[in-house]
């Protein structure tokens, strides 16, 4: 309570921020998201994460599909690729395989990822491509002005569900856990500090990392996934959760309506690039196959 009372001295604060340097990862142009949109938090988080990891701007590529979230690349000063609706994964895979030195971050909204793009995710996860996929989940189609998405809650009313959405929403964490993505975590736009930390870990991970980020759509969802509600519901994973235990992770993921924030599962296994190297090695050691 008293942190509200303690005076903040602007110039000290600004020095601190400038010294820290993450501002340089931002583009010059202001994001065009609705004022209040949770995605601003992701934007802030990613710049902080890249800065913390010391990844040079030119070595980072941000790939996205179609949707509000997918406008992201325009607002960071890294390499970016705004591809087609739902086709993010294959493009990102291609870039990574072409140059292992790049840090590839794929970004999409819940529609881009789990509706039209749903078919691509399992394969990117299965192959353990060394990329990071961040899904900004606001449970709504923002860019087409407010229709339901695969993660929209049951009972939600939208322009396309005027009599309430009766479909059961997807459970991205459970899906990704069952796809065996090798790093799986969840964060929330309303917790900027934690979000930045999770992004840092996800990008640092070797292999396919999936970060699910809960975000309100301040324009088209005034009732369900609002800051007010989420602030009440979000909670942290228990300290003693074992991130190597897939079943425990699934139990945690399915424990509450809004699953806890934190790292669910971490696994160390060869990436697609490493497998390809392995195939090359075997090929070199194998005797030539007769015509």
């Amino acid at each position: 309570m008293n942190e509200h009372v303690n005076p903040v001295y602007l110039e000290d604060k600004l020095d601190e921020i400038r010294a820290d340097g993450h501002l340089s990862y931002r583009s010059k142009s202001l994001p065009t998201w609705c004022p209040g949109c949770g995605y601003f938090s992701m934007q802030e988080g990613l710049t902080i994460a890249l800065n913390r990891l010391g990844i040079a701007k030119e070595n980072a590529v941000v790939v996205s599909g179609i949707g509000c979230a997918s406008r992201f690349p325009f607002f960071v000063d890294t390499y970016g690729f705004h591809t087609l609706h739902g086709r993010t994964m294959p493009v990102a895979t291609g870039i990574k395989i072409a140059n292992d030195a790049l840090s590839v971050v794929a970004i999409g909204g819940d529609g881009d990822a789990f509706a039209i793009g749903g078919g691509h995710i399992p394969h990117a996860a299965r192959r353990n491509v060394d990329i990071t996929y961040m899904v900004f989940d606001n449970g709504i189609y923002g860019l087409t002005k407010g229709q339901t998405s695969p993660t929209t809650a049951q009972g939600f009313k939208s322009k396309t569900t005027p009599y309430e959405n009766l479909d059961m929403p997807l459970h991205p964490l459970m899906m990704l856990l069952s796809y065996r993505a090798s790093w799986i975590g969840q964060a929330y736009a309303g917790r900027p500090h934690h979000l930045a930390e999770m992004m840092t870990q996800a990008i640092a991970h070797k292999g396919f990392s999936y970060l699910h980020i809960l975000s309100p759509c301040v324009t088209f969802d005034k009732t369900d996934r609002t800051y007010g509600k989420l602030n009440m519901q979000v909670h942290d994973l228990s300290e003693d959760h074992d991130t190597s235990d897939l079943i425990a992770a699934m139990q945690q993921a399915s424990a509450a309506e809004i699953p806890a924030l934190g790292v669910y599962y971490v696994e160390d296994r060869p990436t697609l690039s490493e497998e390809m190297d392995e195939i090359s090695r075997r090929a070199r050691n194998a005797p030539p196959i007769a015509e």
Binding site: T32, W33, C34, P35, I66, C68, L84, G86, A115, I116, G118, Y141, G142, L143, T144, K145, Q147, T148, P150, K159, T160, T161, P162, Y163, T219, F220
Partner: protein, 608 residues
């Protein structure tokens, strides 16, 4: 200087930033005008960002006689955001009015205020839009409605009608929203009452006896949805895409009420697949999309042609290629709609030219599809999809489905789903009809439907020939000639939304004693070639204006008739301007003989 027409013919332009409520204000204005009994044509332009900072502009032309397009010059400009409105000051005619905020709160750079750009001949009305809203409601949110009220007050439009529309518009929101906006509106009216009116803009009484109550304000998309519903559509599958989403939203709201089925699928591919499945099972089924979605759907279009399944796909074109210009209009998906897909996959393509046409074509589409057992594409564009017009629908439903005839079989006769008949149309049965079971496939097949390449040539001929009579389908206008009869200096061939401007061009040109005729072509596949050729015989020059770069329709025409045409193409994302068509018309008249080969000009070229 453009003088206002006799009677009422006023065009309002409301311009603001996304989030200013520009479109909403325009919507209330157009609905009120329609309810007053005026003919209305309206068109909104808005940016893809939801509430980013892009430009929104809503143009509403209200008149007591039917008009066919927007005017180049607006009579009134209402600025809700100067940065966006300043470029549009020029479109206001002399002694027209410019309404703007004269009490802005943000620091403006020199020249950042619209008052620096208003010509002396235009009439400025500066007032505290934000202040009116805040005083009336405590919030700035109702600026748009306050400005609307001011305009209504200035041009004495009856507030009562606006109150009614506002109440309807916000009926689903909490009561306070309606009350606030009504207060803001009245405050605007009151503010206008205190000013001295100097412009010569005046809203008279509508001439048309038709009371506003019979007239329905519809967008092209709304008309398509209404046509579908009156035709008894039973199943709809869709995937959101600008500018077709509003058809889907209408279906989502209305179809379940009619006992039909609505589903938002995960993508266009599954949307059309489900539609095809339902069509195969005998339901009247449809989907709607735009160019990018249609591109995904072509594989299923092919299957629909191959398996001779009736269903309807409405396509609202936007700027392309690829993701292109999602919120700008264009007519560049003609080739895709007519030819898209693998193999020789001819289908029926209907392109209405105004909102009334959307309503009629959509209403008849299922019957046509069922008659010829083929997919039907309804090809419109953003300009037509989103533009509002007043339509007076017939009192009794003329599109209701006729009872289906089950094929009659003789003793021991084997049912052949794809029997080669004279008309090319085979007896079609649907699951559930006894004794008529069969299999359809995407593979080439024989008359029974078994995979076989033996009859590929015959089957191709059948699938093409069965469609030709459609150009004279009873009750459907597939083409129509307007203007001077007999020989003319210039004939214009038009399709889709652009035909509105072409018709306005005709009326302007007739005032300049040039011999002109125009023909609208509604059925683009199969093409009514004979009528088109006969029309071209009468024309010294044939001019084909359309909103794509290559002149896709012109190609089709000269391809089908083997005669030269002059192309007038433009891809600015905006409708073609009557003045541009007129300019090209005059250029042609001045040039002696028809050019030996077909020339190619862009509207820009004409302007340069």
């Amino acid at each position: 200087m453009e003088q206002p027409r006799v009677g009422t013919d006023i065009q309002f332009a409301i311009c603001g930033s996304a989030g200013d409520g520009t479109i909403a204000a325009g919507d209330i204005m157009k609905r009120a005008a329609a309810l007053m009994g005026f003919k209305v044509i309206a068109f909104d332009i808005y940016p893809p960002e939801i509430r980013g900072f892009g430009k929104c502009i809503s143009r509403i032309r209200i008149s007591d006689a039917q008009t066919y397009s927007l005017k180049r010059h607006s009579d009134v400009l209402i600025s809700l955001n100067d940065a966006h409105a300043i470029p549009h000051v020029g479109e206001v005619r002399d002694f027209g009015a410019v309404l703007f905020e004269d009490n802005s709160i943000a620091e403006l750079p020199e020249g950042g205020h619209i008052s620096a750009h208003i010509r002396a001949a235009q009439v400025p009305y500066g007032f505290g839009i934000r202040e009116i809203s805040e005083k009336a409601t405590g919030l700035a949110r109702s600026r748009n409605i306050a400005a609307l009220g001011y305009a209504a007050g200035l041009f004495n439009m009856p507030p009562g009608i606006f109150h009614q529309i506002i109440a309807e518009k916000f009926a689903k929101k909490p009561r306070a929203v309606t009350e606030d906006n009504t207060r803001a509106f009245d405050a605007g009216v009151e503010a206008a009452a205190r000013v001295f009116k100097l412009d010569d803009v005046s809203v008279g009484r509508p001439l048309s006896a038709a009371s506003g109550a019979d007239a329905v304000m519809m967008t092209g998309n709304g008309a398509i949805a209404r046509g579908f519903l009156e035709a008894g559509i039973q199943a709809y599958f869709g995937y959101p895409i600008t500018p077709a989403s509003s058809i889907m939203e209408r279906m989502a709201a209305a179809l379940p009420r009619e006992g039909g089925r609505f589903l938002q699928t995960e993508d266009e591919i599954s949307a059309i697949a489900a539609t095809l499945g339902a069509g195969y099972a005998g339901a009247r089924a449809a989907t709607a999309t735009s160019g990018p979605g249609l591109a995904l759907m072509t594989e299923m279009m092919g299957l629909g042609v191959m398996a001779e399944v009736p269903f309807v796909v409405a396509v609202s074109q936007r700027g392309g290629p690829s993701t292109g210009l999602p919120t700008k209009t264009e007519q560049s998906d003609l080739n895709l709609a007519v030819y898209g897909g693998s193999g020789d996959a001819q289908r029926i393509v209907l392109a209405p030219t105004n909102v009334e046409g959307c309503y009629r074509c959509a209403g008849m589409a299922f019957e046509i599809a069922e008659t010829y057992q083929t997919p039907v594409v309804l090809l419109v564009d953003l300009y037509l999809s989103n533009r509002f017009e007043t339509v007076i629908p017939p009192r009794k439903n003329i599109f209701a489905p006729k009872p289906r005839k089950t094929p009659k079989m003789g003793k021991g006769e084997e049912y052949q789903r794809f029997r080669l008949t004279e008309s090319g149309v085979s007896p079609r049965s649907i699951p559930g009809e006894a004794g008529l079971t069969h299999t359809v496939t995407g593979l080439e097949h024989d008359e029974i439907g078994h995979p076989s390449d033996r009859l590929h040539n015959e089957m191709n001929a059948k699938r093409h020939h069965k469609l030709l009579p459609a150009t004279h389908f009873p009750g459907l206008t597939t083409q129509k000639r307007f203007g001077d009869s007999g020989k003319v200096d210039v004939g214009l061939l038009g399709w889709g939304s652009t035909f509105g401007e072409i018709l306005e061009t005709l009326y302007t040109a007739q005032g300049q004693d040039i011999r002109v005729a125009v023909m609208k072509v509604v059925m683009l596949s199969p093409l009514p070639v004979d009528e088109i050729a006969a029309f071209m015989d009468d024309c010294t020059h044939v001019l084909v204006p359309e909103l794509n770069f290559e002149g896709q329709f012109a190609n089709m025409i000269s391809g089908a008739t083997g005669r030269p045409v002059t192309r007038l193409t433009q891809t600015t994302g905006a409708p073609m301007l009557v003045d541009d068509i007129l300019a090209e018309l005059h250029r042609l008249i001045d040039s002696p003989a028809p050019p030996p080969t077909s020339s190619h000009r862009t509207a820009e070229g004409v302007r340069a």
